[in-house]
């Protein structure tokens, strides 16, 4: 059941009806008992009355007297006529007298007290009383069928008003539920009325405490959406900055080249413009890589990759300007393989090696090595660059952050790409400057069961 109102309505009407039914059952049982009790008393009283009315010695002892049958015609206006049947028996077994509606046969064989018996196909409840002095036994009986009809009529007289009350109750419940759910309706209306751009928090002030958690949760969600959108917006803003700045640089350099009065100035400007083109194309590449990473969680396939082969592949495709021959691969790398998604690893490795090469002075080296420590295996890329200034360790991982030791061709996206790619591949990146703020060591950390030693390497 999807509608809260229908659900509440159903529950309330069902439970109210159940309570009413229980009440009726109770009243029915109780009324039956009470009437039983009351009618039993009447039987007793009637029996005693008849007994006291019969004259001593007259009726009982004269066997020749005819049976007295009272007429006992119906009483006008009464619906329960012929309720009581009465028989007077002498002790010697002779029927002395009976009421008009009483059967001829004995109502009960029991000498004293209550008993029930079927006589002429009808159930009778009979009270017997005897007078040992008068030697008569009076049997007063009640037709049980009539008794039950009486009780039924009593309950029916209660049910008729209930038949009117229950629908009214249902209407009242319906109105109450509607009124009670009004704050919810209000919240729903205000939610559905707002357009998709409106992410301002809902007003918690007047809402009842039950839906307040829901509204708070919604407001929390709105906050997150706003933050995500803000992040997106700032990404676009940064991306625009990152595109426009090199473009501005290019334009300026080209204008200088056009206006230059001395050949050196023109050559220098054209060199700078070339660098600008390189940087812009690299930035475009990196932006595409980043958006590919962002757009779809790619289907990852771990496969065993020989580290030395992978790194050689990475450096082979690198621009010669970066002097990739400065990369030295330690022996430990040559006989190790790692189980990782090839594309993600290549992306991370290429960016890390490029970073290292860009920051390392021309006579420095970039060293690759593998170490195992407990459950962790580290693939290390160390450079001779300036390292990361203190205070920038966290910042360098952010998109478009270009630290104080930036390179001319850096896009500010490299490390962000590395962290995202490694995150996708189930690995981690750790950066540390081991040599007291000099040189940088980037570590790709994977669990040690994903690294194995190759036999014949």
């Amino acid at each position: 059941m999807n509608s809260l109102r229908a659900r509440l309505l159903l529950i309330l009407i069902a439970s109210t009806s159940a309570i009413w039914l229980c009440g009726f059952a109770w009243i029915y049982v109780d009324a039956r008992q009470e009437t039983q009790h009351l009618l039993d008393r009447r039987l007793m009283e009637a029996a005693r009355m008849v007994l006291s009315l019969s004259a001593p010695g007259t009726l009982a002892n004269d066997p020749n007297l005819p049976v007295v049958v009272s007429a006992g015609g119906p009483i006008a206006g009464a619906s329960y006529e012929h309720i009581l049947t009465c028989q007077v028996w002498s002790f010697d077994g002779r029927l002395v007298g009976r009421s008009g509606n009483a059967p001829a046969s004995k109502l009960t064989e029991q000498p004293v007290g209550f008993s029930e018996r079927v006589v002429d196909g009808e159930i009778y409840r009979v009270y017997a009383a005897e007078d040992p002095v008068k030697r008569v036994r009076v049997l007063v009986g009640d037709n049980l069928e009539q008794r039950q009809r009486f009780v039924r009529d009593l309950v029916r007289s209660l049910l008729i008003p209930a038949a009117f009350i229950l629908p009214m109750l249902a209407i009242l419940i319906w109105i109450s539920v509607k009124q009670g759910l009004e704050p919810l309706q209000h919240a729903t209306r205000s939610l559905s009325a707002r357009d998709a751009e409106n992410l301002t928090p809902l007003d918690v002030g007047r809402s009842p405490s039950e839906i307040r958690p829901l509204i708070n949760a919604l407001n929390g969600l709105f906050g997150k959406v706003v933050a995500a959108r803000e992040h997106e917006r700032s990404f676009v803003a940064y991306a625009a900055h990152e595109m426009r700045t090199p473009l501005a640089g290019l334009k300026t350099q080209v204008q200088i080249a056009a206006q230059a009065t001395v050949p050196e100035m023109r050559t220098n400007a054209l060199c700078q413009a070339l660098k600008g083109v390189d940087r812009t194309s690299r930035l475009v590449q990196q932006l595409l890589a980043m958006s590919r990473l962002d757009a779809s969680p790619p289907r990852l396939q771990d496969q065993w990759i020989n580290l030395a082969a992978a790194f050689r592949d990475v450096t082979a495709h690198m621009s010669r300007d970066l002097l990739p021959e400065r990369v030295t691969i330690a022996a430990s790398v040559r006989n190790h393989s790692v189980a990782i998604d090839r594309e993600m690893f290549d992306l991370a490795a290429r960016n890390l090696v490029e970073n290292a090469l860009q920051l390392t002075p021309p006579d420095g080296t970039v060293r690759l090595s593998v170490t195992q420590e407990g459950h962790e295996a580290k693939i290390c890329i160390e450079d001779d660059g300036p390292g990361i200034p203190s205070g920038e360790e966290e910042l360098v991982l952010q998109r478009f952050f270009r630290g104080r030791h930036k390179s001319a061709s850096g896009s500010g996206l490299g490390l962000a790409i590395v962290t995202t790619a490694l995150d996708r591949a189930g690995a981690k990146l750790r950066l540390c400057s081991p040599g007291g703020g000099h040189g940088l060591r980037a570590e790709i950390i994977v669990s040690s069961n994903r690294v194995r030693l190759d036999d014949a390497a």
Binding site: A240, R244, T245, K251, T252, Q272, A273, R402
Partner: protein, 221 residues
């Protein structure tokens, strides 16, 4: 005209400093807020070209720092973010002008000249003293309506002197206006430029006050 360029992109920074020098300005470039603070502490600039996104903070912080010190040096903001609110914020924080990237070198130079003119409360773009007219925009000087060909440095010296006729400019002040930090200044460079100027526009305009400096001679020649 000494300009400070604060821009973190090395290619653009190089382009701006070189390009502005082509327009007769002496430009110094820095690429961080920190360097901008130290540059501002030691040198007086005619105007500042300020990028908003810098590696160690925002250009707005530099601007705020400047205005807090009650420094009225004109500031031209450069930024790739050209949303209206960004522009408004920059101007409200005390910037004098705003230029979105990418821009024309000519426009940057023209705006800087306009900023300087406004800062000095001049109405005319040209500097005029008697029959000597100097146009900072076209880098042209005319004397009695005849063009005078001056080198970039000579033009700079004459421009600095003509900004405030009659007021003395010391040799170091002139050097500051002519040379960036990167440039080697010969010990008698200013004297040489003055000498050449006198040869081109005649000796009567520039007066030497020994030990003090130079000025445009105000008394009737």
């Amino acid at each position: 005209m000494r300009i400070l360029v604060v821009e973190d992109d090395p290619i653009l920074l190089d382009g701006l400093t070189t390009g502005l020098s082509l327009h007769g300005m002496a430009a110094d470039g820095v690429d961080t807020c920190e360097d901008a603070y130290s540059a501002l502490a030691t040198t007086t600039f005619s105007a500042i070209v300020l990028d908003l996104m810098l590696p160690d903070g925002s250009g707005i912080e530099v601007l705020r720092h400047l205005r807090l010190r009650n420094d009225a040096t004109p500031v031209l903001l450069l930024t790739a973010r050209d949303a209206v609110e960004d522009r408004v914020k920059g101007l409200d924080e005390g910037a004098d002008d705003y230029l979105g990237k990418p821009f024309d070198l000519e426009e940057v130079a023209a705006r800087l000249r306009a900023l300087e003119r406004r800062a000095q409360g001049r109405a005319s773009p040209k500097l005029v003293f008697q029959t000597l007219v100097l146009d900072p925009g076209s880098l042209e000087v005319t004397l009695d309506d005849k063009p005078v060909h001056l080198s970039r440095r000579e033009f700079g010296v004459l421009r600095a002197l003509m900004l405030r006729p009659g007021i003395v400019c010391s040799r170091s002040q002139l050097e500051d206006q002519l040379y960036g930090w990167q440039e080697e200044v010969g010990s008698n460079a200013v004297e040489v430029h003055i000498h050449n100027l006198r040869a081109k526009i005649g000796p009567r305009y520039i007066q030497t006050l020994r030990g003090l400096g130079y000025r445009i001679r105000m008394e009737a020649p």
